[in-house]
Symmetry: C2
Subunit: 257 residues, 2 copies
């Protein structure tokens, strides 16, 4: 919706291909036209874009990995596409799907194209800085989250006192924070990173008020994000809540380690 609004301000028409059960119904009010799809309805998506003369597209939002097992309705094009995939790693699928669209005359642009202000700026965002004790856990978490991303497992890890308490896999960031926090005693660090080498056209890791709420609930008190390679859609509210709850948020880069 943010993207659609920004596009309208710039006089760009927006035609949305939206996944049923994933995208918000109110997206309809913000776009010039919309096509609701199930996962796997590739032909319908291409026809919709081509009829409207779409030549540039962005991929926004995520599909819960667990949905992939339940909601998919692959058409012939999707089956042919799946058959050519040697593996089912996220990034590989996204890249191959972008190539497929490219061949049909639709170029995938970076998802932040119209929204550069959503990208995480470097530095400490909150009044409270991470304590000295958290420094080592931040280093461990940064390294481990990078490896977990490299292995295409997930984006975030929770660390406390040198021990990895929880690793995100198919369950998502909020659940991972809850799990890690419940296993810690007095403070833990969550590090959420972009996959090393991720194609930056695709959706970047995001965090927001919901992330901070999950931290508050489970006693995780430091959030580390990747500067320049992650998004926050409600940064102001997120920082206000963190400040109120004594949580630190820091956006860092590889050069800090």
């Amino acid at each position: 919706m943010l993207f659609a609004r920004r596009a309208k301000e710039k006089g760009i028409a927006v035609h949305a291909a939206a996944y049923i059960n994933e995208a918000s119904l109110s997206l309809e009010e913000h776009v010039d036209s919309i096509q609701w799809l199930h996962l796997g309805q590739v032909t319908k998506l291409l026809k919709f874009f081509q009829r409207r003369g779409v030549t540039r597209a962005v991929m926004l939002g995520t599909v819960k990995k667990t949905r992939i097992f339940t909601d998919i309705k692959p058409d012939l094009k999707a089956l042919a596409f799946i058959a050519t995939m040697g593996h089912t790693h996220d990034d590989g699928i996204m890249r191959a799907f972008a190539d497929l669209l490219g061949k049909e005359g639709i170029t995938i642009c970076p998802s932040t194209m119209l929204l550069p202000d959503l990208i995480s700026p470097k530095g400490c965002w909150t009044r409270k800085k991470p304590g000295r004790a958290a420094k080592k856990d931040i280093e461990t978490g940064w390294h481990i989250a990078g490896e977990i991303g490299r292995l295409d497992i997930g984006q975030c890890v929770v660390v406390s006192n040198g021990t990895v308490l929880a690793v995100e896999a198919a369950d998502g960031t909020d659940a991972t924070i809850g799990r890690g926090g419940s296993l810690s005693r007095g403070g833990a660090v969550v590090v959420k990173r972009c996959k090393p080498g991720q194609d930056l056209r695709f959706d970047l890791p995001s965090s927001g008020v919901r992330t901070i709420l999950a931290m508050v609930k489970s006693g995780v008190d430091v959030l580390v994000l990747e500067a320049g390679k992650s998004l926050s859609f409600d940064r102001r509210e997120m920082i206000d809540l963190a400040d109120e709850k004594g949580i630190s948020i820091v956006a860092m880069g590889e050069e800090d380690f």
Copy 2:
């Protein structure tokens, strides 16, 4: 208890240093003497062993990682030991602790010294073999579990349809199986491996009836173990239950991949 019984059969005296809240109280009935300890009571442990003329010891059983935050009562020797540790990775701590005992005249022997029959034999243990569809997930799981071990995060992963559904961290195998299984649809593979390069003197990954129960409950239908580098204490009952529930158990080695 199995170890103590086997030692008695061989005419070897057993003096147990047992952790409060971790070891079973009935251990007392199986050993020549026992000293109950909190984590961190190193001096007490050394004195107990030295007074009884103990020169060889094995480390058996695990201490839940989450306990480390709550139950530790470090004495001066423990604090000095902790101070020399650059990190808190499991294997490093165990190795350093074995060295510390070695300097005091107590050699740590492989935990399987008297129990070679507990070690997982290679092959398929159950009537049901993993289906063709599981082959790829077994490969993925084997690789990922190795990496997770190398990073000192945990021992097991749950995989389904090429996606890593859950990774064990501080929460343990049964919780990980439950989490992974609940995110899968119709079947998943759990791979539990020994850390690559693990010091085989220390406790090896184990599985048993409890593992199969966790799988039944959450719908995970293939268990892959590491042949020669993992233990099962109740293998017969474990296989019987797996056969009854249509679960496959296979013990494999690096050479199978």
